[in-house]
């Protein structure tokens, strides 16, 4: 395939293949961090992304993976630009993304729990009889929980 035949829609399809390194079931499209893809004349392409949390170390890796992808597609001129506004919220995460998260064992962001507190649905047994262990989990975007019913610990992807 030559570069010329690649359109915006095709780029999105390739972006779907790039996963969040911390949560490898989620693509960056599921996560909602791709804001726009702009094709310029002269086969130049720019991908706009936004970070979930400011300090998220995965962002550099995601940006690098996008650049590698564009380069391997044959683009000579490409750019990945981080934008801040409008700030990412969990609303940007797709329904498909939320389903995949749960399947992976991470409770998906739930609007009823804007701030992490007891009662988030357990992704293993669906019980709401759960306890917040810590507002801060294994990565910046997650909180730690334990389920009183199935006794399993789990992560909650914090609402943002």
């Amino acid at each position: 395939m030559t570069v010329h035949s690649i359109d915006k829609k095709a780029i999105y399809a390739y972006l779907e293949e790039i996963k969040d390194p911390e949560v490898p079931v989620l693509s960056i499209i599921d996560l909602g961090i791709v804001r726009d893809v702009v094709m310029y004349e002269d086969d130049e392409v720019e991908v706009f992304i936004t970070s979930t949390y400011n300090g998220c170390p995965a962002m550099d890796m995601i940006a690098a993976n996008i650049r590698i992808m564009l380069s391997s597609l044959g683009f000579k001129k490409y750019k990945v630009t981080q934008i801040l506004s409008p700030a990412w919220t969990t609303d940007w995460m797709s329904e498909e993304g939320k389903r995949k998260l749960k399947q992976y064992g991470i409770a998906a962001p739930d609007k009823r729990f804007q701030i992490a507190e007891d009662g988030v649905e357990c992704p293993h047994c669906n019980s709401h009889h759960t306890k917040l262990i810590s507002e801060f989990g294994s990565t910046a975007c997650k909180a730690l929980y334990q389920c009183h019913d199935c006794k399993e610990p789990f992560d909650y992807f914090k609402c943002h």
Binding site: S51, Y53, W88
Partner: protein, 275 residues
């Protein structure tokens, strides 16, 4: 009204302008607090709290990077516009976030004195975090409406994290103040150690005229919030006491030198090294 110190260091960039200086103040404050908190990594009282504090550290580092990046952009633009050499000393080809963090001296750092204070015990670290996060939350709420869209965007994004920091640290202040005799004693000691550095937050430096923040309102809101938390914790809010100032203008406590020698060691010893 206290007078603010003009920066004594002649190396201080004459070009940086107020907006750049304010961005550096915000960047330095979040970076230094991040660095202090990171000193706890692997030493927290229990695993969850160790993780919590290092998470907060990471959030603050992320915020610092955004402020440094934007400050660097403005510094480079003004440098280009005026055709002047880099204000940052040495043979710097343009400012970037790393140069701003790693190659400025303590007199050029504009962070609040509060955040450079040593970790002390867990209580002192918690109180430092709470006093700052509560302030940061109120200031960033105002910065969200800043005319400079980039500043507004960084504030809006950071605030989501700061809200968690306020909640976590205030809960710990209450738990320790209202805990055992020992924990209460330690919190009283922490207040003695740290309160004197809080006054500075509300005395704007000359460059803070660009902040578009009403520091009087922030001060009233801050004291009201702190009173509520301290009351629940059974801790006294100190009466008017002497307040140490100067950090915003590069006049620091001795601690900053030790922090920077740690933070900047690699870049100073092996210039331009990367990994």
């Amino acid at each position: 009204m206290e007078t603010t110190f003009k920066n004594q260091n002649s190396e201080v960039p004459p070009l940086e302008g107020f907006r750049q200086a304010y961005l550096l103040h915000l960047a330095d404050t979040t970076l230094i607090l991040s660095h202090r908190n990171s000193e706890w990594c692997g030493h927290g009282p229990v695993l969850e709290q160790d993780i919590a504090l290092t998470n907060i550290s990471l959030d603050l580092l992320g915020q610092a990077r955004l402020f440094y990046q934007y400050a660097a952009e403005l510094i480079n633009n003004s440098k280009k516009a005026e055709g002047k050499v880099s204000p940052l000393g040495g043979d710097l080809e343009g400012a970037d976030e790393d140069k701003l963090a790693y190659l400025r001296t303590e007199r050029e750092y504009k962070n609040l004195l509060l955040v450079e204070q040593p970790n002390g015990d867990w209580g002192q670290t918690i109180l430092r975090q709470y006093l700052y996060s509560q302030f940061q939350q109120l200031v960033f709420q105002q910065l969200q409406n800043h005319k400079d869209e980039q500043i507004a965007a960084i504030a809006t994004k950071s605030l989501k994290e700061t809200n968690y920091h306020v909640r976590w640290s205030s809960e710990w202040v209450i738990r320790l103040g209202d805990g055992t005799d020992e924990s209460k004693q330690r919190m009283l000691y922490a207040i003695d150690e740290l309160w004197r550095y809080t006054g500075e937050m509300f005395i704007p430096a000359d460059y803070e005229s660009v902040a578009q923040v009403d520091f009087n309102t922030v001060q009233q809101q801050w004291i009201a919030k702190v009173k509520t938390v301290f009351e629940e914790a059974g801790l006294p809010v100190p009466e008017k006491i002497f307040m140490q100032t100067g950090g915003k203008n590069g006049m620091h406590t001795e601690h900053i030198g030790y922090i920077l020698s740690d933070l900047q060691y690699m870049q100073r010893a092996y210039p331009n090294s990367q990994w």
